[in-house]
């Protein structure tokens, strides 16, 4: 048995979700190899070689893989899949687009967003926005899946000593041309890997008021998130969104400010270790899942909290 983990990266840094995916792979108990497909990505390959439990890094360093075009990465995986019993990628937009694509190329039924490994062919995954957990057993010769990264610890990023081996390019397509990326720039920790997340909802009233949450997040060393209501209202960009249709987070502390707690939002944060809710509506459903609730107008609560924290 051997597992191929698909690394997510930006050609210079491996994304943390890759480390959670390696931990999921380690539960299977076989050899773990990592595929790094990118351009000028030698640094990523050496970072991956140092991840605990990884015995080999397959590096495909070519212009074709510069922008993580699904079709190109999928063709590369297909060309190398014959030696593996399992293929795993983080359940990010990168992995969620890629794994079903390559599975169909290989006539495999993919398994999405696994939150636990029961055995080498049986996995648990949330369905209905996390309102139920489904255990499925696969009869495919190769199991291909995406991994809910918040359900697995980060693998140690320093103690490994895998070898890096270069592999050939395979099957570039000209159907898809990369035009541009408009990435949100932030000095704060990345939302899905931050230890503390401060999230705002419709109760923030407008985008300017999010500056309050940004200040608080900076004070706590956390990231800023938002509910779908706040994103749909145009207060903040879509990449802030926590929920079933946005990002799934599980920080040490999740502070929900002016968020009522719709089911689809809870699906994205209910695995947080400690949930704190500040809301002026004492009936808000968020209080039913929070460890600490504070029934207070957020425009009074946030300045008071900041003052208390700076003491």
């Amino acid at each position: 048995m051997s597992v191929l983990v698909i690394a997510e990266h930006d050609n210079s840094q491996v994304a943390p979700g890759t480390l959670n995916t390696v931990t999921a792979a380690s539960k299977l108990g076989g050899d773990i190899h990592i595929l790094v497909a990118g351009s000028g990505c030698a640094d990523v390959a050496s970072q991956c070689a140092k991840i605990a439990g990884v015995s080999k890094v397959l590096s495909a360093d070519a212009e074709t893989y510069k922008n993580e075009i699904t079709e190109n990465t999928a063709a590369l995986i297909q060309a190398n899949v014959s030696e593996y019993s399992h293929v795993m990628a983080p359940a990010s937009t990168f992995g969620k687009a890629l794994i079903p694509y390559v599975a169909a190329l290989c006539d495999v039924q993919a398994i999405s967003d696994i939150s636990d490994v029961v055995s080498e062919d049986t996995f648990v995954r949330p369905i209905y926005a996390g309102n139920a957990l489904e255990t499925v057993q696969s009869s495919d010769a190769v199991k291909m899946m995406t991994v809910r990264t918040t359900a697995f610890e980060l693998a140690d990023a320093e103690s490994g000593s895998g070898e890096v081996s270069n592999i050939d390019e395979a099957g570039a397509t000209d159907w898809v041309q990369f035009v541009a990326q408009n990435l949100s720039q932030s000095e704060r920790p990345e939302l899905t890997s931050a230890r503390i997340v401060v999230s705002g909802g419709r109760g923030m009233q407008n985008g300017e008021n999010f500056a309050m949450l940004e200040n608080l997040a900076d004070q706590l060393g956390g990231a800023v998130g938002a509910s779908r209501a706040a994103v749909d209202a145009g207060f903040v960009p879509n990449d802030y969104q926590v929920g079933q249709t946005g990002k799934v987070v599980a920080p040490d502390m999740y502070l929900a400010v002016g968020i009522s707690g719709a089911i689809q939002h809870l699906a994205g944060m209910k695995d947080s270790k400690v949930i704190v809710a500040i809301n002026n509506d004492e009936e808000a459903p968020i209080f039913q899942v929070s460890d600490y609730g504070w029934n207070e107008d957020l425009f009074n609560a946030i300045p008071a909290l900041q003052a208390e924290l700076s003491q």
Partner: protein, 249 residues
Amino acid sequence: MKILVPVKRVIDANIRVRVKADNSGVETANVKMAMNPFCEIAVEEALRIKEAGHADEVIVMSAGPDKAAETIRTGLAMGADRGVHIQTDDRLEPLTIAKMIKAVSEKEGCDLVVLGKQSIDDDNNQTGQMLAALMKRPLGSYISKIEKNDAGFAITREIDAGLEDLQISSPAVVTADLRLNEPRYASLPNIMKAKKKPIDAMSPGDLGVEVSNRLTVVKVDEPPAREAGVMVSGASELVDKLKNEAKVI
């Protein structure tokens, strides 16, 4: 140009689902059903492309039991021209569904397939990607914008770190994300008109697709419940508890 929109009948998004007592699945008997919200967005976008003069016909298809026809009617009431119903009572996995959609798309000669990015029941988020791979057509996943141009389609994708612009050739497969559009409501006259629009019924076998599942559902469980905690009365109490009790700051 012809556009195909596959749609799925799911438990209404506003219903709280319950796991069955025998852990075989979730309760669907006597539960309100509706078109999957992402599929509504896909239908809406296809209609807008047609209304902008880039397409002649929008076909809505669904695979499933007799009741799936109701969901096709919803698409017709929104404004789609006709329907295709693949009748089966079997449990369907995304790979099988993708094979069915491919067969319909080829039979109808569709230039664009617009799907929702995921259904809110199984949360698989797979069918569109699988369809693109099987059809060997460019994939635009999680799109928040699509424009027809001479080279095919200019699309904007919603990715974890922000937005990505791609140019894809035509014919193509795209999957709709939340912010692509706000789907319209079907008006009463259009709901009446939709009753007269044709729906072609066929079996998976008619399309040359065999229903063979690769996954066995072993069981379905309730997730562990999260207990409500304590209410605090002020900032100092909250900070004290976070520091000394929860030890998270």
